[in-house]
Amino acid sequence: MKAWIAAVAVAGCQNALDQRLAIVNDTRVLAIVSEPAEAKPGATVAYSALVGSPHGPDGDAPAWSLCTAPKPPTDDDAVSTACFGSGSSLVAIDPTAAMVPTDACMQFGPDVQGSGFRPRDPDPTGGYYQPVRADVPGTDLAFGFTRITCDLANAPFEVAEAYLKNYVANANPTLVVDAPANVAADSDVTLTASWPAASAETYLYYDQVSETLVTRRESMRVSWYATGGSLPVDATAVDEDDPTTSVSTTWHTPAAGAAWLWFVLRDSRGGIATASVAVTVQ
């Protein structure tokens, strides 16, 4: 009996492939920031990318384009396959001043061409998103998102009206990091990321089950990245009902030399803040 139980137990320990992204072993995009995080169709936004490499920040400027093709609701991916290639679904943009398409709520939001079509469903925070693609030479495709302010779909009129009047668009959070610039090799170092309480914003959310507006608070999640050493987790999250405004982790430092740390703070409505820290490991 015990042998069998043990046999079952070991099944959990096998076949594990590396599910970690915290150690940056090759050049890749770590985050794409939309400023502001949320905008109405027709508004202007700016995009920037945080690109890491084993040697530190990557200096190559990405090529930017808006993805104009929505994905089918049955697709688990966040982006339509039409935006993976180089077809007409991509529109090149100036990342410093790009306009959210005026039909964004039609393409990616709940607006439909007529009453005979199914409104698109929102994400778990009630949001809809315009994808933007960043092409960094030598890396995988990367997509960022601008949350778009759209009307509610299938909501009672008075609820939709109240939402339109009172909803406050998301703003990117503010990230403050605490990481030493000089550390000893092969040692444990505490890394801390914090944010002002106001960064975890409260927002109006349309509860589809009760068909009412409720006030929720953003959950926060910090992703940790380093060029070497080891990190115990990829990310640390704070739930929306948790008032905590800082999280920490322990970085086991690599051998002596230059190292980089990156911090990416995401709020649950798509807001992102990043920080980069150069570290000398002695």
């Binding site: 688990d76 199914r118 929102p122």
Partner: protein, 758 residues
């Protein structure tokens, strides 16, 4: 008197195999001492074989002449009776037999030779003795010919390329929602009180409806055959069974409770277990009563119930990819059947009702997916079988089947996954969130009739089933505020012709073909105005099977070919913006083609079992403009060998299984999703690759012994995956999808248990 389990299976088998001749011998077997009927014995006359039914009765048709009726059964002393059939006169005989001394528990097997193409019937005693099921009778279904190799931990049953929801499970003719408990370790319909298991993979008769795949019939045994008390325990669970007689009513009851989760937690943190090794908790219970109301009129009633709970969390280094699952499933059924046997047939009536409650709450990072489905179900069945003339039998029946379901759903549109969804193991579902609550009614009132006629070497069955359907859904469009909903209601009819033709080439060889049309209603869960389409109707299928059956007791060989054409299948609308309240379509079509060769042996020197090879192709298309793809559970090659050997107090068994891996959709690239900080896959051809070939061997041994007085005991050991082969169950990927590997099933696994009974 009851000598062993009733052998209705063999009686049916033998009757089906018999060929109409000029005269009829009707007979009855009785115990010489008690004068009680003796069931389940075989009667050989000339080249014709029959079996005695529950009342000891048998029928044999032969040309005029002199014959010797040879009665045999493991538990009877051989008996013979010489008779002479005179032209124009039927003959009635009574044969008295004497039982042999029974030495300990015997495993008696009947009826594993097929009647319809691909059909398999297994006695529960044999099923329990074979490896693969841990002593659970209904687990044998997963080892039957025609049944695809199930993924580890799966409760799905795929027969001849049909999706799990296209086949239906019945207990004594009453539909049940699941054959297995969550996790697939045990059957949900009990174990101790099961009498036999009957699979018809395609082209089943007119008495069954609402399925376009196959039919699995679990027959509960006669409670008189149950031991007075029996207790069984192994690492998975424990069960207790008892029997009593109150007046003229025999009642047997069984209860089973799992403790696998507690057992594992003694030595290992369940959180460390793999996603393919869930640790559910299950309970099931059955009560069966039987009373003889009048001579040849029997009332049987039973209640069965099943409870399943599963809570698990798959922890992750990133909370955004941590998943949890909470499953709570219950069902109960109760039925009453009265059957009256006549010399020329029988009348049977059944009333049944039940309740299904199921809720599944998933959380994939921040993405929820909650589904609940609570339903009242009920129905009635009436069957009359009558011999119109020698070799001609008319069977007519009525079949009412109804369901009223209250459903609620909140969360991702793509959970639960449907057949045909592109599924990449480990990828979170789409984060599009919706909600709905609705009701749906499904009522199917059917009448059916079939005529069996035997003319010389030909046996023809022609029948039809006429179904009238009432399908309703409470909302035609999504709910908005307190706006009253306009419901969807439709009445549909279908007339399904079904029939077979058998040519008995010789006493051993028969050629047979079956064909029929089948319909099933959309599922209640698909009628949401948000997640589905309220106006969905009936799915349609045509089945054709053909083959040759060679039978020389105790051996049988069958070569079968089969085809299934599926139409109006419910499938997702893949449009970027589907029409309102039409997230699902009925544009799906499918085809299944295959051949299967099966050799069976029944009780040859104590050996029973089968060797079966199946070659098949099952493909589907979700819309006219889509490309054909392989069915999600398609297995091109399937080989299964199962054998059990009983000798004295020992029984041993083995199982070998080889199967082509199931299709999967390959990952050809990845992109970084900045919103979630993770990579997502870019997929290739839908179901364009496969898991590696599966191979496993299992073995089982049981030793029975006498304790004190009438108390008997048994110990058993079952070893699954004897070669400790690492069979791939899923393709897994690293975080950025640049590497892939396989999630493998359970390694060598030993289950030891003990059983005590009186």
């Amino acid at each position: 008197m009851s000598l062993g389990a009733p052998r209705r299976a063999l009686a049916i088998l033998a009757l089906a195999a018999s060929v109409a001749r000029a005269e009829t011998i009707t007979g009855k077997l009785v115990d010489r001492a008690t004068k009680q009927p003796v069931s389940g014995a075989t009667i050989l006359a000339g080249n014709e074989l029959a079996a005695s039914d529950e009342n000891g009765a048998f029928v044999i048709e032969l040309p005029p002449g002199k014959y010797v009726l040879v009665v045999s059964a493991d538990w009877l002393k051989p008996a013979q009776l010489a008779v002479a059939l005179v032209p124009g006169r039927d003959l009635a005989v009574t044969i008295e037999v004497d039982p042999t001394e029974r030495a300990g528990e015997q495993i008696e097997v009947v009826g594993i030779a097929p009647t319809a193409i691909g059909e398999t019937k297994v006695d529960a005693a044999l099923a329990r003795a074979l490896p693969g099921g841990g002593g659970d009778a209904a687990k044998i279904v997963q080892s039957l010919p025609s049944v695809a190799r199930p993924p580890a931990g799966s409760t799905d049953i795929v027969v001849w390329g049909a999706a799990p929801n296209e086949s239906r499970v019945f207990v004594d003719g009453v539909p049940v929602p699941a054959l297995y408990h969550v996790g697939g370790y045990r059957s949900a319909v009990g174990n101790d009180l099961i009498g036999d298991i009957h699979l018809t993979p395609a082209a089943f008769g007119v008495d069954r409806g609402r399925a376009i795949g196959g039919v699995i019939d679990i027959g509960l045994g006669d409670p008189r055959d149950a031991p007075e008390i029996r207790a069984q325990a192994d690492v998975l669970d424990g069960s207790l069974e008892g029997r009593t007689t109150v007046g003229g009513v025999t009642i047997a009851a069984a209860l089973r409770q799992s403790w696998l989760d507690q057992a594992v937690s003694l030595v290992e943190d369940p959180r460390q277990l793999a996603p393919n090794a869930p640790l559910p908790r299950w309970t099931d219970g059955q009560v069966v009563a039987r009373a003889e109301l009048a001579p040849r009129t029997v009332l049987t009633a039973w209640i069965i119930g099943s409870l399943d709970l599963l809570d698990r969390t798959l922890y992750s280094d990133d909370p955004a990819t941590q998943t949890s699952e909470n499953t709570d499933q219950k069902f109960a059924r109760a039925q009453v059947t009265v059957r009256h046997d006549r010399d020329d047939g029988f009348d049977s009536g059944t009333l049944w009702f039940g309740r299904d409650d199921a809720s599944d709450d998933y959380q994939f990072g921040t993405i929820p997916a909650n589904v609940s489905d609570d339903a009242w179900v009920g129905g009635a069945r009436a069957v009359q079988q009558r011999r119109l003339a020698a070799g001609t039998i008319l069977t007519t029946g009525l079949d009412l089947d109804s369901e009223y379901a209250s459903l609620a759903r909140f969360g991702s549109l793509t959970v639960p996954a449907r057949e045909g969804d592109i599924y990449i193991f480990g990828q979170p579902p789409g984060d599009d969130i919706a909600a709905d609550s609705w009701n749906a009614t499904t009522i199917d009132a059917a009448g059916h009739a079939s005529l069996d006629a035997r003319v010389g070497p030909l046996a023809i069955t022609a029948g039809a089933r006429l179904d009238g359907w009432l399908l309703t859904a409470s909302r035609l469009t999504p709910r908005v505020g307190s706006t009253p909903g306009i419901g969807s209601q439709q009445i549909q009819y279908d007339a399904d012709p079904r029939g077979s033709l058998q040519w008995k080439v010789s006493d051993e060889l028969a050629l047979r073909a079956d064909a029929g049309e089948y319909h099933q209603a959309r599922e209640a869960g698909d009628t949401s105005a948000v997640f589905g389409t309220p106006g969905l109707g009936l799915e349609d299928a045509w089945h054709v099977t053909t083959g040759a059956q060679w039978r020389l007791a105790p051996f049988a060989i069958e070569a079968a070919g089969y085809a299934r054409w599926l139409d109006d299948l419910v499938a997702r609308d893949l449009a970027v913006t589907p029409p309102l309240a039409k997230a699902l379509t009925q544009d799906g079509i499918g085809t299944v083609y295959g051949v299967q060769v099966t050799a069976r042996v029944l009780g040859w020197h104590g050996i029973s079992g089968w060797l079966s090879y199946n070659l098949s192709s099952s493909r589907r298309k979700d819309a006219a403009d889509q490309a054909w793809r392989y069915f999600d559970h398609d297995q091109t090659n399937g080989l299964i060998a199962v054998a059990g050997w009983v000798r004295g107090a020992w029984s041993v068994g083995g199982r070998v299984r080889l199967a082509t891996g199931e299709p999967r959709t390959p990952v050809v690239g990845a992109f970084f999703d900045s919103a979630n900080g993770r990579f997502e896959p870019i997929v290739g051809e839908h179901n364009g690759t496969r898991l590696p070939t599966y191979f496993a061997t299992d073995a089982r041994a049981e030793r029975r012994f006498a304790l004190t007085g009438a108390v008997k005991g048994a110990v058993y050991l079952e070893i699954q995956n004897l070669t400790n082969r690492a069979n791939a169950e899923e393709i897994i990927y690293n975080a950025d999808y640049t590497q892939h590997g396989y999630l493998t099933g359970l390694p060598l696994l030993a289950i030891a248990g003990v059983r005590i009974e009186r």
